[in-house]
Symmetry: C2
């Protein structure tokens, strides 16, 4: 199988049994998934998006993690935020103002 | 926040609405989560485990992806398989026979 160059993880706050109940889900992270999918295609990025259970960074939610960059982003709550992050990814850079520091 | 050195993603086959219904879940991936958590602690690994929605590698399920190694593993269906993968991780190596090639 072909593995993607970039693997984008979006917290959907799934509990162990599958219920999406946490901060990221309440703040609409899942609603952004179709937009992110479209942007990946439009930009021709070799990227896969995967929703996740709680990533334990709830204070910063909605949370997105991009590997191989190894960057954690917070407050990803709008299409503008997604654009900023993907613009940076395309340029091999990091959207510093959305990055979770530490 | 402190970000983990290793981020271990275990496919739990969550659908968009949260129902865990796919191959990895049926093959028991979620049942291994407590074992993996314990092994991370026992080994003193700086690692975080996150369950995910479908990672689209169902033919190889149960699937586990480890970043920052960027390695995709398949057939992670037993404690022995987990041990083999974490043994390799501790040594900075890759458990090649469980790795998804390509």
């Amino acid at each position: 199988m072909d593995k993607p160059e970039h693997h984008i993880f979006v917290c959907a706050s799934f509990r162990a049994g599958g219920d999406p109940k946490g901060v990221c889900h309440k703040k609409g992270s899942v609603n952004l998934l179709p937009y992110i999918e479209n942007e990946i295609l439009d930009r021709g990025l070799d990227a896969q998006i995967t929703s996740t259970g709680c990533m334990k960074a709830c204070d910063h939610g909605p949370v997105m993690v991009i590997h191989s960059q190894g960057v954690w982003y917070g407050n990803v709550d709008s299409e503008d935020a997604v654009d900023e992050i993907l613009d940076a990814l395309e340029d091999g850079e990091i959207a510093e103002d959305l990055r979770i520091s530490g």
